[in-house]
């Protein structure tokens, strides 16, 4: 095979890989059901490209006593979390190993168990509490912001509340559509 042809195949292959990363994310954002999740930004860190904010959702820590579930779950295992439309935020209903059927006004979020424990630090009471829980990652925990703005999101003004609008596709994949402050979009995701 000639060098030019081989090189064209190589460039096309690598471009397709990069483009498909964008396409898959955009597909989730355009076809997914929008839901709003309660969060608090923690620990903005500076990467070489700028800042990113680590988002800690209310549904990132799931107390097993409060939810129905197909126990047990192990660390690094796939998990499906059924969430329902609440007011104002969507809230978890049940935990599953396989994707469950969807009642109206419900969506399923796909995640990975990163920790299964029975003791956790309660930030409000500043003490350890005995509770069987799972810590779950949904792939929407990091949000990159322009340099220097990570701290602004972490240190909100009094009365400001942050939440995230997320799109969830039919397979349970989630993508951040917008970062909301007091329900109003501060950052919105677009293709270009």
């Amino acid at each position: 095979m000639r060098i030019t042809l081989r090189l064209i195949i190589l460039i096309v292959l690598q471009f397709v890989v990069l483009a498909s990363m964008i396409a898959m994310k955009q597909w989730t954002l355009s076809t997914g059901t929008p839901i709003v999740l309660e969060t608090e930004p923690i620990d903005p860190r500076s990467l070489f490209q700028g800042d990113y904010v680590r988002l800690n959702y209310t549904i990132s820590t799931l107390r097993l006593a409060e939810l129905s579930s197909d126990r047990p779950f192990k660390e690094h295992e796939r998990i499906y979390v059924l969430v329902r439309n609440g007011d104002p935020y969507w809230e978890p209903v049940s935990l599953h190993h396989e994707r469950p059927g969807l009642p109206p006004d419900h969506v399923t979020l796909k995640g990975t168990v990163i920790r299964a424990g029975n003791r956790r630090w309660n930030r409000q009471s500043q003490s350890w509490e005995a509770t069987e829980h799972l810590m779950v990652r949904y792939g929407i925990e990091n949000y990159f912001v322009p340099e220097g703005e990570g701290r602004d999101l972490e240190r909100l003004k009094p009365g400001e509340k942050i939440s995230i609008r997320v799109a969830v596709d039919q397979f349970g994949n989630a993508g951040i559509k917008a970062v909301l402050v007091n329900g109003q979009p501060r950052y919105t995701e677009t293709l270009f």
């Binding site: 060098i3 090189l7 190589l10 690598q14 990069l18 070489f48 929407i140």
Partner: protein
Amino acid sequence: MLRESGFLRRLRKELPVWVQQGWVRPGSEQQILDHAAAHRGPGVRYLPLAFSILGVLLLGAGVITFFAANWSVMPKVAKLTLVFGSMGLAYAGAGTALKYREAPQLGEALLLLGVILFGSNIMLIAQIYHIDAHYPNGVLLWALGGMVTAYLMHSQPAMIAGIALAVLWTGMETFGFDRSLHWPFLILWASCLPAIHKNRWMPASHVAMIGLLLWSWFAFQHLIWSAHAWGSGVPLYLMQIYFLASLGIFVLGMVMATDRQLASFGVVVKRYAAFAALVSFCALTFPDLQRGLEWRAGSGRLHGTAPGLWVIVTVVVLLIVVGLAVWHRIRTTGMERPAYLNWGSGLLGLGIAVVLANLFLSGEHGGEVAVVFNLLFLAGLVWLVYAGMHANDRFLVNAAFLFFGLGLLSRYFDTFWTLLNRSYFFMAGGLLLIGGGYLLEKQRRKLTARMQGAQAQGGRP
């Protein structure tokens, strides 16, 4: 000029061995030397490649820091144009350099730049679109990109980058996501071998062997830590299996050495396998490992006999080693069989018997078993010196001497740490190091000089 004369010197040394191995027809050595001398290149070839690769790395670093400084003020379209454009330009430049054959080294370096940019682009796109997936997958994609580049463009630097990234990927999966035996790495690793063999890529073969050893070390580390059972003898049984597997790969290297096409790779395989086998066998000579590591921690608990699963796994690996040894014997039937191979087989049989018996012994016999392993280790080192001298492989001889010194030092620490007053211990240790080191080094130099002399005369040491 320097490289060419060095090449001729090496060729002059190697040719007698090649003739003896039957790879080159007797009497044609001078013709080959004359041909090589007549086709000496115009000058130094490695320098442009080194400068090109250095230039590529600097350019890559510059591009990334440029992005870093201006990233937040760029619109998405500009970012995407940079991401795709820089990679496309690097590959187009590589194509031009390779197509017109004026600067092949620059072409290779630009291909490597393309691979580096492909990886940084995966991360940049993940950042632009907030893709926060299972992060080792990004490194896997990058490794695959390097390997595809290597296959399509016949690029050795791209293959080396691909293998190194695959090792990074398996390390992330093993330690970050608790995958004790991360088998998918082996599929990726094996997929590199046909290209390495076809293109006779020797540096890439070294990197591939280092990658395999690192993978096995990751698996070994993780299996031991995840077992959470120090007193159960898991580290001992795992170490025995690790030793047997390394031995098996060493024998495979010996089999490869009997094949004309694979002989040069056989040398590489044997070297790394010998190193891994020596490390694991050296560990087996420690009485603490033989008794059970909880015993050392002061609990006084000794491990029991091995559970059935460990016996089965050990026997399966043993059968593979024996199978490979038989294969080697079949392949060398009718050929002159040096004596060291025969007593090597005896040593192998003895080692297998001890490893098997050890599965059925509890930790209370750890001290006696360690003595037997020490004797076998010493015999194995002597065998390795012979094997190295026979194959004219100084690496094997040097490794044998290094591990002999390490073994001696370990036994000194084991035996005298509790018996001697600390000051006497350190003084005696110092004297042992100075005196023993001098004697060992003298003996090693004598042997390697003898090998060099014999090589120059075309004979066997």
